[in-house]
């Protein structure tokens, strides 16, 4: 197993180098000049411009700039944001928990509803429940989530007035972050009204972000379940006179969930992409909004390092999913 893990990690090295080259190159070919962007509307004298160019190493040959960049990244230095003048990694660390909280809630929502829905649809195959569930799932899968978010705002915030429109918590609460997860922090402070406020802020964005994963998970669970239910060992179990519940829960479910775990893992990349839209609609202060704001502000350093960090997270999650897959499915390890 250790061998397998090491081999998988070694295979990732060229991809990681490729990603760092991409992130670096993207930012070099972006139109505009980083120094002028940094100077902002005040402008900069030609002498000062040269000094800054030298200070940030923009006068060096391009390959040398890349290796300098790579070297500082390896030491954990992702540069200073041109817009806020704060280290990129600090900005990332303050914003990342917000995205994590959102993504985690969305995924929980998707799994808790998607897996049982898929299982029941498979067991009751062809029934009205199956047909409706799969119809809804395909609709969810086809959903433009930015529109879905607006619709929910119109209904729940505009018409019913149940939920707030933007942000993570009402402005009347100010809590010093402990974990950065608003739900956990408010509980740690024992501030019940703040917890309710945070929850009300979280619900709509989480539903919006979780919609597509929910649809994918329900569909995948159903088809995995159908496949397993057709296997010989399930028929044998039935023939032996086992109760239908036991056949489903013990024999079928365990095997059907193996591909579902992979599917759930693969949603993480999509969640980070969906976070861009969801966070924009709900003005959620996370990394999705941070990235799109930085792209429009031409904050090169943030775009470059943000891309790199996000790609590394996606790769790490994919690796974990693969390893988990090998762990729960011994057939893979043998090969």
């Amino acid at each position: 197993m250790l061998n397998y893990i090491l081999r998988r990690i070694a295979l990732l090295v060229p991809t990681i180098i490729g990603i760092s080259i991409c992130a670096f190159a993207f930012v070099r070919v972006l139109p505009g000049d980083p120094i002028l962007a940094m100077a902002g509307q005040h402008g900069v004298t030609p002498e000062r411009y040269e000094i800054l160019r030298e200070q940030f190493g923009y006068n060096l040959p391009i390959w040398q700039q890349y290796f300098n960049y790579l070297w500082s990244v390896l030491r954990g230095d992702f540069g200073i944001s041109l817009a806020t003048k704060r280290p990129v990694i600090n900005e990332f660390m303050t914003l990342f928990p917000a995205t994590m909280e959102l993504a985690f809630t969305a995924l929980t929502f998707a799994v808790v509803i998607g897996i049982p829905a898929g299982i029941f649809a498979a067991i009751k195959r062809g029934s009205w429940f199956d047909q409706i569930t799969m119809g809804v799932a395909l609709t969810g899968y086809s959903m433009p989530i930015f529109w879905w978010g607006l619709l929910l705002i119109i209904f729940f915030s505009g018409y019913l007035g149940w939920t707030p429109v933007s942000g993570r918590i009402a402005l009347t609460f100010f809590l010093k972050p402990i974990t950065g997860f608003m739900l956990i922090d408010t509980l740690l402070y024992g501030n019940w009204p703040a917890f309710v406020s945070a929850l009300r802020h979280l619900i709509l964005p989480a539903v919006v972000l979780g919609t597509i994963p929910l649809a994918v998970i329900a569909r995948q669970t159903r088809s995995a379940m159908l496949e397993v239910l057709g296997e010989d060992y399930v028929r044998t179990a039935r023939a032996k006179g086992m109760s239908p519940n036991r056949v489903v829960n013990v024999h079928a479910l365990r095997n059907a969930l193996i591909p579902v775990v992979t599917t759930i893992g693969l949603q993480v990349g999509l969640l980070l992409g969906g976070a861009i839209l969801t966070e924009t609609i709900f003005t959620w202060p996370g990394i999705g909004k941070w990235m799109i704001d930085s792209i429009s502000k031409r904050d090169y350093v943030v775009v470059q390092s943000g891309l790199l960090i996000i790609a590394l997270i996606v790769m790490a999650v994919n690796l974990i999913v693969d390893l988990l897959y090998a762990l729960i499915n011994p057939r893979i390890r043998v090969q």
Binding site: T139, S142, P144, L150, I154, G269, I276
Partner: protein, 298 residues
């Protein structure tokens, strides 16, 4: 459903009939295909169908609600937007953009992906390693984020957005084709063609590729709907088609501030996106069931 089909003959006409048999069993797929055909019709004849021009501003009818509202203006069935343009006409013209985007992106991604996938699967070795590593790099970025950065580099606009989306979607084709080519390559008919002196190009494109078509068609359908969604998302974020283009995502972006005051300005463009994407996905599901013999049983 029957697992053995002893009467299947090999002539193309009966292949098509068999395909249609499996496809039309799926009611959803037939509905999807019908809706899609209507959309194509609407897109082609948009100037004839639309009651108004998409860009004409009726200054005496700003933010008129749809026809079923008492305050509506009978000239505008789905109401008007903040500058008095007829929403229905803009939606009808928008169908042209969405279908064109889907078509262009799929053709682009398909051609590039197929060429790269065939090369990788056929030659293996360093060609394979190089191509597939590049595909891995593209797939490591969330698609929408990568498309956003690419559009920022190329400059916002519909055409650049389409290029970016095609680039982001193409690794899926390359991976699919590579796997299929590797599976087909060792089959006897390929060896036979090789022995009779077929060139590399002929082996790749004429002998092997047609036998990988099934999954490719399904992937193309799914990419078609993905492309429409991503292009609308880019338009919504202000990085795709630019106003006043009646592209559905762009229409949503400009309507955002009116969501409480005039919900219909937001509702209809999104509904148009949803219906289009849903129709294509229904067709995709039907195609998968009909073309993938492994799934025919389930």
């Amino acid at each position: 459903m029957a697992t053995t089909n002893t009467t299947a003959s090999t002539s193309p006409a009966s292949g098509l009939r068999e395909f249609w048999y499996y496809f039309s069993v799926n009611r959803g797929a037939v509905i999807g295909l019908t809706v899609f055909a209507i959309l194509v019709f609407v897109a082609i004849f948009a100037p004839l169908i639309a009651p108004h021009l998409p860009d004409v501003q009726y200054r005496d009818a700003l933010l008129k609600p749809p026809i079923w509202d008492p305050k509506s203006d009978p000239r505008f069935i789905l109401g008007t937007d903040p500058v008095g343009r007829d929403i229905l006409s803009r939606l009808i013209h928008g169908a042209r953009y969405s279908l064109f985007i889907g078509f262009f992106v799929v053709v682009g991604a398909l051609v590039v992906g197929v060429v790269l996938g065939v090369l990788a699967g056929y030659f293996r070795g360093w060609v394979d390693v190089l191509i597939m590593r590049v595909m891995d790099i593209i797939l490591a970025f969330p698609p929408l984020l990568l498309a956003l950065v690419l559009v920022a580099i190329l400059g916002p606009g519909l055409f650049n957005a389409m290029i970016a989306i095609a680039l982001v979607l193409q690794p899926h084709f390359a991976r699919l084709v590579r796997a299929a080519v590797m599976a087909e390559k060792s089959r006897e008919y390929v060896t036979a063609a090789k022995l009779s002196g077929a060139s590399h190009f002929r082996l790749m494109m004429v002998t092997i590729l047609p036998n990988c078509l099934g999954p490719l068609i399904v992937q193309a359908t799914m990419s078609f709907s993905n492309a429409i969604l991503e292009a609308a998302a880019l338009g919504f974020l202000g990085m795709g088609a630019q106003p006043p283009t009646p592209e559905w995502g762009t229409m949503l972006a400009t309507a955002r501030e009116f969501i409480i005051k005039a919900p219909w300005v937001v509702t209809f463009p999104g509904l148009a996106i949803l219906i289009t994407v849903l129709a294509i996905n229904l067709v995709g599901d039907g195609l998968r069931d009909a073309l993938d013999p492994k799934l025919k049983r389930s």
